[in-house]
Symmetry: C2
Subunit: 206 residues, 2 copies
């Protein structure tokens, strides 16, 4: 009954969006980046996409579900970035660590709010399985890096949890400081180099 006259392509406002789910996710990430997590509202998202305020609920059962999905894409991209950091660099622990730290901090700087979201969600005891797996996959990359270092005699012996944990903590901590804008200006110059050298000394064989 709507119309045989008004053409679809003008101001395309078809009843079905086509891929609202994906559109919600990308728009949400933009908003998150530009206006922060507090400004993320399902209703505003719906308005932005020209859809009714209840439409998002067809794709995400509640707001948390959307945030979870957003974090999931974040973990996937982070894993991809870290995995790629191994390409084109040497095989020594030092080189691979260097590449991975830079990749991680780079991701953190470019996706500060998203990374924040990713960490605040995994905090939640009842995160989805997919989320836990994604998180697992990326921490496996660190574990693998350390394992290789140990095999090559460039990293001290010991169980992974004990050797890897301080490395992980340092990496995470530095990225978090960078994201929070807490690094002194001078840090831009040598900060990364210093942290990488610090990790190497800390994890060097006894």
């Amino acid at each position: 009954m709507t119309d045989t006259l008004t053409p679809m392509h003008t101001r395309t406002r078809r009843y079905h969006h086509g891929d609202l789910r994906a559109a919600l996710l990308t728009r949400a990430e933009d908003t998150l980046r530009e206006k922060g997590p507090a400004a993320l509202s399902l209703r505003e998202l719906a308005r932005d996409l020209g859809v009714s305020h209840a439409a998002p609920s067809r794709h995400f059962k509640d707001k948390q579900a959307l945030l979870d999905a957003l974090a999931l894409t974040g973990f996937e991209r982070l894993t991809a970035v870290l995995g790629a950091s191994r390409d084109g660099v040497g095989e020594t622990f030092a080189e691979r660590l260097d590449a991975m730290v830079r990749a991680y901090v780079g991701f953190a700087r470019e996706n500060a709010e998203l990374l924040d979201l990713m960490y605040s969600i995994k905090h939640d005891p009842e995160a989805s399985d997919a989320l836990r797996e994604a998180e697992q996959r990326w921490s496996d990359l660190v574990v693998r890096l350390i394992g290789e270092g140990q095999a090559q005699g460039q990293v001290r012996e010991g169980p992974m949890e004990r050797v890897g944990l301080p490395v992980f903590a340092t990496l995470h901590g530095y990225a978090d400081l960078a994201v929070a804008g807490m690094l002194p200006p001078e840090a831009d110059e040598h900060g990364l180099d210093d942290v990488i050298a610090f990790i190497l000394r800390g994890s060097a064989p006894a």
Copy 2:
């Protein structure tokens, strides 16, 4: 002044609360700890304290102001705890570092949500001066520790920003992981020891 007559404990519902501001802060911290940051609402706080929903606005111009004040008390307590960690331990860098790391992680575990709040706020570019000062005071403690270590020849030479930053990053990162519940169960056993040893190796003289 308070009362020689009206006992506190009798459901007194006087028009003026007496010290609503302090009551709001303590109640807010309890709620934060027990039900998480999302459950913090000015209106519910007011209900809990038996005052009208607009009463809090007389003491905090908006919700963020209350959160800022909460974070401020957090920084003050953290500084006190870290300062006290120096008492009763030896004067070597290793001992003092050990004490401070344990104090910091202990505070983080006991005040996880509050610490989260503290960090998410300093993130904000327009935090109050008092907040910035409080944050400064506590990071000064770390700087002081490292300076002493250098003076005693137990920490490598170099400008404070370059030597201290990796230490700070590791400390912060480990505490953050602990707070987020991301540490593997095995970490409870040796995690702290490992991190402290890691920091000592990383910052030892060349």
